[in-house]
């Protein structure tokens, strides 16, 4: 079932299969698992927010299928898993989703390198919201390294794009059908 809304995919060379909701759900659960992984030492500072990155990917590429609700619910799940204030990530992910959907046509026009810059800006905005909420609730600015995960996540953007597209490439020759 092809839908008229998927012209954004045509900007790349290959034509992708339509995305099933189950596939989206699976990638989001996998991202949550990666977020829950145990890291120690300097990896704690470096580890990117996989859930945010995955949500951002779907927000940019499938803005009609992945909207605010999954972002909001996953934000709540992340808040519980981290033991942070209830709702801070829900708020941050909602705003992130808004920017992703609002910018999705623009981002799709750029090459990978410029897309990474857009992703970096959106992720930094997301982190600034979390920071604002926590400082308002009495927290203290943890230091410049607080923003390192967003840079790492932006560097992972090409990898994410590649991984999510592997399963969506049509393997058959369309003329055979």
């Amino acid at each position: 079932m092809m839908r008229g809304s998927e012209f954004s995919n045509l900007s790349t060379e290959d034509i992708l299969l339509p995305v099933r909701p189950l596939y989206v759900a699976l990638t989001l659960v996998a991202a949550l698992l990666l977020n829950l992984m145990q890291f120690t030492g300097w990896m704690l500072v470096l580890r990117p927010d996989f859930v945010a990155l995955t949500l951002l990917y779907w927000g940019i590429h499938q803005p009609r299928k992945v909207g605010f609700l999954p972002a909001f619910l996953l934000g709540l799940a992340v808040d519980v898993a981290e033991g942070s204030l209830f709702g801070q990530h829900a708020l941050a992910y909602s705003v992130m989703m808004f920017s992703a959907i609002a910018l999705h046509r623009r981002v799709a026009m750029f090459g990978v390198r410029h897309q990474m810059l857009h992703v970096l800006a959106i992720l930094l905005l997301m982190q600034v919201i979390v920071l604002a909420v926590r400082t308002a609730a009495g927290g203290e600015y943890p230091g410049w390294w607080y923003f390192v995960p967003s840079v790492i996540a932006a560097l992972l953007w090409p990898v994410t794009r590649f991984l999510f597209r592997i399963l969506l490439r049509s393997r058959r020759d369309p003329d055979e059908v």
Binding site: M37, F72, A77, L85, F86, A90, L91, E140
Partner: protein, 300 residues
């Protein structure tokens, strides 16, 4: 092939409307959680849903450590065995004298008609993962309220206090480490019994001993243990060792930095102690004099 009409005909509420709805909802949740702690029930429900995921994530690490322990070299085991045997021998000697002391102590307490000190029971737990929230120092362990882990209970490792249970979910529990910025531990200097409070700094390996006068009798290397007067932490658990003292006569208090006695960030196995029996009520005459509720009692 099915064809749906172009998207500009049916789009639902506008993007900005949807954003405002979800942002408002999260702000309400945030306010309710930060000010009134209303969200604990919902947190528990989500915690139960997350539990299987947390276990799945733990599997690769467990398998790896099992494979690793299978290939441990014999010389390492021998060395460890020798070390443990020596330690066991030393401990046995200490234990014998301690048995005698315990009996004597009980006897003396009976003579003096004092309340018996109840030792806390403990639950062994394993850390599943470190919280990624950069604003707090928290770990999640694999035992929860179904294993009799209570909120507010002390958590120790083999060398001392590492934290306090801040939230108990049915099968997991969240532990605020003593290095967390909001964590306060009432302590006592072993050398002279001076009472003080230790505050977390938010950084690994550093604690603040606050509100000690500049002329306080305290030196680098002094050991701090829990005083037990708060009714939360059992008395006598090692907390920290004083590592640095700055005495500046311009300020009323000395700046004292300590290093935690326990491996706050090193071990995977921890021991969750049970809550102590509640302290007796304040005497009624002292009640109206109480100026402010103490901030350190986070469990109310």
């Amino acid at each position: 092939m099915q064809y749906t009409p172009p998207p500009f005909f049916k789009r639902g509420p506008s993007l900005l409307a949807r954003l405002s709805f979800f942002a408002l909802l999260s702000l309400i949740l945030l306010y309710a959680d930060a000010r009134f702690h209303y969200m604990e029930g919902m947190r528990k429900a989500i915690g139960v849903v997350l539990y299987p995921l947390q276990r799945i994530v733990d599997v690769p690490g467990e398998v790896a450590s099992q494979i690793g322990s299978f290939f441990v070299s014999q010389s390492y085991l021998q060395r460890e065995n020798e070390h443990l045997a020596r330690e066991n021998f030393l401990n046995a000697g200490l234990l014998q004298t301690q048995q005698e002391l315990i009996a004597e102590n009980r006897h003396l307490r009976e003579l003096l008609d004092m309340k018996a000190r109840a030792g806390p029971t403990s639950v062994a737990a394993e850390i599943i993962y470190f919280g990624r929230d950069p604003f707090s120092r928290k770990v999640i362990v694999d035992k929860g309220s179904s294993h009799k882990v209570e909120e507010g209970a002390a958590v120790i490792d083999d060398t001392g206090l590492i934290g306090q249970v801040s939230r108990a979910f049915p099968w997991t529990a969240e532990i605020a480490l003593i290095t967390d910025r909001e964590q306060v531990v009432p302590v006592q200097v072993v050398k002279n019994g001076l009472r003080a409070t230790v505050f977390g700094t938010g950084y690994d390996g550093a604690l603040d001993l606050r509100f000690m006068p500049v002329n306080a009798d305290i030196e680098i290397g002094d050991v701090l243990v829990t005083s037990g007067i708060d009714g939360v932490f059992p008395a006598g658990l090692p907390v920290a060792v004083v590592s640095n003292i700055e005495r500046n006569a311009a300020y009323p208090f000395a700046r004292i930095t300590c290093t935690p006695a326990a491996g706050v960030n090193r071990h995977r196995q921890v021991l969750v102690l049970s809550r102590l029996a509640p302290l007796p009520e304040y005497p009624p005459a002292a009640q109206h004099k109480k100026a402010k509720p103490r901030k350190s009692r986070r469990d109310g």
